[in-house]
Every structure is written in structure tokens, then in C-alpha cells.
């Protein structure tokens, strides 16, 4: 019985991948769009065709948009998350247990649409205020994403730092090193595989997040040239367009292809996490 349950889940995941892949590949196999032009083209308008009759299907603006917001949001989160984790593990563990952890868990539980709303009503006007333009764009999207991935990243970095054996710290203290030297030169290097894992999982979350980003990024499928002009991500194009395009049309196939890229990317993130875990283990046992 339990075996059937497990087999069911495995079959579900596999069929999901197959489904996305079969639809996503239709763009290239049925509609005759070349893969190269799909990932390098910069014009996204599948309703229209160019002189040669091929639809404008350049996904590069969205791919770039996704990567830029992902990297930016994680770059914003990382220093703050490491700082927080050091504080609550090394300096104020009681505060960490009683206040900080519950608060970040609460943050993790807030639905993404709420983040999007707050971004829309608070963040976008602020960005508009100091940068001009509409306020929609990469920066607003990255800031909202940063808030969303923060709890994941900080919790994982917390665990990584707390898992550094006490004996390492004692060894460093025993040599007359200060707490700061100990954290910088023993604790952080020892926790590095865990910190890397935290970043990658945070990136995976940021890469896949749709709703909140869609609400603040402006949804213009153009190459991102500035932090303050509207842009689009793979996910935002999917959520805005999917409901409007009939199954089986060229546009619909193109959206499936975007979904396939998303899926492949998330698999890549998982793979990276696995590799880090293995590398960490090898180093520990070597």
C-alpha cells in the first residue's frame, strides 16, 4: 500500500515533467521556431510575424528579467541574512529563539499576493519618487522578491551557522581569538556549504515566484536596460498571458516553452544544491 503511494507521487512528478516538456517542445517541433532564435531573440510578440512569416518569439527579455531580479534580490538578502544569523546564533540566542525565529516564520507565511499589494502601494510610489518613471520595474520586483526569499535564506543560514560544532569555537577562543575573529575565520568558513545552499534555494524561490513580481515589475517584454523601466520575467509573462491564449495556438505553445525553461532552471538549482552537499561531505570526510 505504502509502495503504491510512493509510486503514485513519483509517477505524478514524472508525468508533470513530461507534460510540460511535450507542450514546451511543440514550439520547436510543430510550429517550426528555432530554439536558437527563441532564446536569443529580443522581440516578444507571438501574435505577429516577421517578413519571413515566423512569429516574433524572442524569450531573451524574460530570461534576462528573471535572472536579473533573482540575482539582485539574493544579493540584497545575503548580507542582511548573514548578519542576522550571526547575531541570533552567536550573540543573542535567546532573542533569536523567542523573537526572531517566530517573526521570520511569520514573514514566510505571508501570501505572495500580499507582498505584491504592499509592493504596489508602498514600494512602487517610493521608487517612482526617487527614480522617476512609473516606479514599476526591476528594482521594485527585486525588492519585493528580497522580502519574500529572506525568511527562507535566513532560516537556512541560521541552521548552517548553528550546526558548526562548539569545539571549533572553543578551539579559536582557546587561542586568544575574539568572538568576531572566531566568527569570521572559523564559523563562516565552516558554514560555507550551508550558506551556499541557502543562497541557491533562495534563488530558486525567487526565480519561480510569479504573482508578487508580476504586480510590480510592469510587464513589458523588453530587454531590461535600467533598474527603473518596466520589464518582465518568465513567470510574469506566464501569469499575465496564459488565461488569454487558447490551447494549441502558437502563442500558447510559446508560453509552455517558457514554462519548460522555468522547470529546467529549477531542476538546475536543485542539482547545484546536491552538488554543494556532496562537495561539503567530501571535504568533511577527506
Amino acid at each position: 500500500m505504502t509502495g503504491v503511494c510512493a509510486a503514485f507521487v513519483v509517477a505524478l512528478v514524472l508525468s508533470l515533467i513530461v507534460l510540460v516538456a511535450s507542450h514546451g517542445l511543440a514550439t520547436f517541433t510543430v510550429d517550426g521556431v528555432s530554439f536558437a532564435s527563441f532564446v536569443t531573440g529580443t522581440v516578444w510578440n507571438p501574435h505577429a510575424s516577421d517578413a519571413s512569416g515566423a512569429p516574433y518569439m524572442g524569450a531573451l527579455p524574460m530570461i534576462c528579467g528573471s535572472f536579473v531580479v533573482t540575482v539582485l534580490s539574493c544579493a540584497m538578502v545575503l548580507p542582511i541574512a548573514i548578519g542576522c544569523a550571526i547575531f541570533v546564533v552567536e550573540i543573542a540566542p535567546r532573542f533569536g529563539e523567542r523573537v526572531f525565529r517566530p517573526i521570520t516564520e511569520m514573514l514566510a507565511g505571508i501570501p505572495s499576493v500580499v507582498f505584491g499589494l504592499i509592493g504596489l502601494t508602498v514600494l512602487v510610489p517610493v521608487v517612482r519618487g526617487f527614480a522617476g518613471g512609473t516606479g514599476f520595474g526591476i528594482l521594485s520586483g527585486s525588492l519585493v522578491l528580497a522580502c519574500m526569499v529572506f525568511p527562507t535564506v535566513v532560516a537556512l543560514i541560521n541552521d548552517a551557522i548553528a550546526a558548526v560544532p562548539r569545539s571549533y569555537r572553543e578551539g579559536s577562543y582557546g587561542l586568544g581569538c575574539t568572538r568576531w575573529q572566531t566568527v569570521l575565520h572559523v564559523v563562516l568558513p565552516s558554514a560555507m556549504p550551508g550558506i551556499m545552499t541557502a543562497i541557491v534555494l533562495g534563488m530558486a524561490r525567487a526565480f519561480g515566484e510569479a504573482l508578487a513580481v508580476q504586480m510590480v515589475i510592469g510587464n513589458a517584454a523588453q530587454m531590461p536596460t535600467s533598474l527603473f523601466t518596466p520589464a518582465a520575467t518568465l513567470t510574469s509573462v506566464l501569469t499575465t498571458s496564459m488565461g488569454n491564449e487558447a490551447m494549441g495556438t502558437v502563442y500558447n505553445d510559446a508560453l509552455w516553452s517558457l514554462a519548460l525553461i522555468l522547470l529546467v532552471m529549477s531542476l538546475v538549482f536543485i542539482l547545484i544544491v546536491r552538488l554543494i552537499g556532496r562537495a561539503g561531505k567530501v571535504r568533511g570526510n577527506a
Partner: protein, 275 residues
């Protein structure tokens, strides 16, 4: 390194007022009324003990008798434990290590510590030994190389690892790891070495090497070692102190203490009536 801690400071009113702060030549470290409490619970009753330079002192006693607690006071490792209160005085170079304002980091550099479980950092062998010197001073590569080689030679590890100094310290055997940890401590040039059951996690051959090392180190260091193993105390130490139920029962020259213990409790422990 100890220059700033006023090695030859004449006796002044401040030190004599707080207690007898004089430092004689046969005294490397002296405790006066040293006591420890964890919260409300007293872990060590006030005790006095003097450690002569270039000797090995063994601290023996049953588990939970306060010997490790005592050892961990001597370089203020207890400061890292919340709720731990240390009372009394620890005189080191005419200064009270427990007085407010004493630089605990300076003190730990001069009074090094080796732990029960070998605890090399997850760094290379070289970086493990270079860790302390790098934190405390700005050194050239050549100076560091020299310190690393000298420290590893001192513990007899250099010839075993000289071709793989880049290898992780965790890749060594348990005995090698413990000698690496001793080398790491020696690299910051301490005067006193505290060892907390340094061989209890090691095999007999490694134990023998570390014991030999203790005697060798005692030529120019003051070694204080906690041990569960009474034969070890007999083999390596000049003086032995017996702790029981958070109290220093008796301390004396090792031969004397083992052959003619003054206290009944010492006698009972040595004869195996309890452990």
C-alpha cells in the same frame, strides 16, 4: 609577547592590597581562593594552588569532581559559558587574571588550551597551525612558514605531513589531529599549556606519543593536565592534585601523593574504592 603584561613589575600597593601579588621564580601561575558556580550551584569550592614553571601538574579525580571546571578557569574559558561565576584570584605575572580590565584574549594567548576531543578547524594542516599567529600579528609568508614548521616539528608531526600541508586537518588520524591541535596552540607561543584529558579519545600508541610530548613540553612550558587515568598521572606529572566533589582535597609531589596520601579520600580513590 608578554612585555605589555609587565613581567618584572615590582610589588605595588594595588597588587598587595588585593592579595599577595608577588611573583617568585618558582611560580608560573597561582590560584588563590578560586571558586566556580554555575548559577546557584557551586561547582568548585575555593581552593589555592601554585604551579611551578617547567613542571607537569596532573589533576585527577572522579567524573564531575570539578577538575575540568578548575582547568577551564585558568584561561577563563568559563567566560564563554552563560551563568558561570568565577571567584578568587588567578595570579599570572603579578596580575590578577580575574580582575576587571584584564585582557582575556592576551591571557588565553599566554595560557593555551588543548581539548579532550581533537578539534582541528576544517582548514588545511598549514592553516590550522597558522590560524593563531595570523589573528594576532601581521606576518610575512616566510615567518609563517617558519612558525608552522617549528610548531609541527615540536609535536613530531612535521615529517609525517610535510608533503601534504595543504590537506584538510580533518583528514588526519585521531592521534595526529590531537598533535596538530597541540601544534596549533604552540604556534602562538604560550607559557602555560592546559590539557583537558588530551588522550582520552586516542588509541594507546597515540596516547604514548602525546604523553612523551607532555614531558618534553614541560622543559620550557608549565603543563597542567586533567586526566582520568591514574597511571598517566604517575607517568607524566611532577605534581598531582586530587579533586573530589567540587573540592581540592590534596596536592603534592606525584610520588608522594601516590605512595603516602595524606587524606583518607585520596587513599580511597587511589586504591579504587570508588571512582
Amino acid at each position: 609577547m608578554m612585555a605589555e603584561m609587565t613581567v618584572e613589575r615590582p610589588v605595588d600597593a594595588a597588587t598587595t592590597a588585593a592579595g599577595d601579588g608577588r611573583r617568585t621564580t618558582d611560580e608560573a601561575l597561582r590560584c588563590e581562593g578560586l571558586s566556580v558556580a554555575y548559577g546557584e550551584k557551586q561547582a568548585l569550592a575555593p581552593c589555592d594552588m601554585t604551579f611551578a614553571p617547567s613542571t607537569v601538574t596532573a589533576l585527577i579525580g572522579p567524573s564531575g569532581c570539578g577538575k575540568s571546571t578548575f582547568l577551564r578557569c585558568l584561561n577563563l574559558m568559563n567566560r564563554e559559558i552563560a551563568n558561570c561565576h568565577v571567584g578568587g584570584h588567578i595570579w599570572f605575572h603579578g596580575q590578577d587574571a580575574l580582575a576587571p580590565g584584564c585582557d582575556v584574549y592576551d591571557l588565553r594567548r599566554c595560557i593555551g588550551m588543548v581539548f579532550q576531543q581533537p578539534n582541528p578547524f576544517p582548514l588545511s594542516i598549514y592553516d590550522n597551525v597558522a590560524y593563531g599567529p595570523r589573528r594576532h600579528r601581521r606576518l610575512s609568508r616566510a615567518q609563517l612558514d617558519e612558525i608552522v614548521e617549528r610548531s609541527l616539528r615540536r609535536v613530531g608531526l612535521f615529517d609525517e605531513v610535510k608533503d601534504e600541508l595543504k590537506k584538510s586537518g580533518l583528514a588526519l588520524s585521531g592521534g595526529q589531529q590531537q598533535r596538530l591541535c597541540i601544534a596549533r596552540t604552540l604556534a602562538v607561543d604560550p607559557e602555560v599549556l592546559l590539557m583537558d584529558e588530551p588522550t582520552s579519545a586516542l588509541d594507546p600508541i597515540s596516547t604514548k606519543m602525546v604523553e612523551g610530548l607532555m614531558r618534553d613540553l614541560a622543559r620550557d612550558h608549565t603543563v597542567i593536565v586533567v586526566t582520568h587515568n591514574m597511571q598517566q598521572a604517575e607517568r607524566v606529572s611532577n605534581r598531582t592534585a586530587f579533586f573530589y566533589l567540587g573540592e581540592l582535597v590534596e596536592v603534592g609531589p606525584t610520588k608522594e601523593l601516590f605512595s603516602h596520601p595524606r587524606e583518607r579520600r585520596t587513599q580511597d580513590y587511589l586504591s579504587g574504592r570508588f571512582s
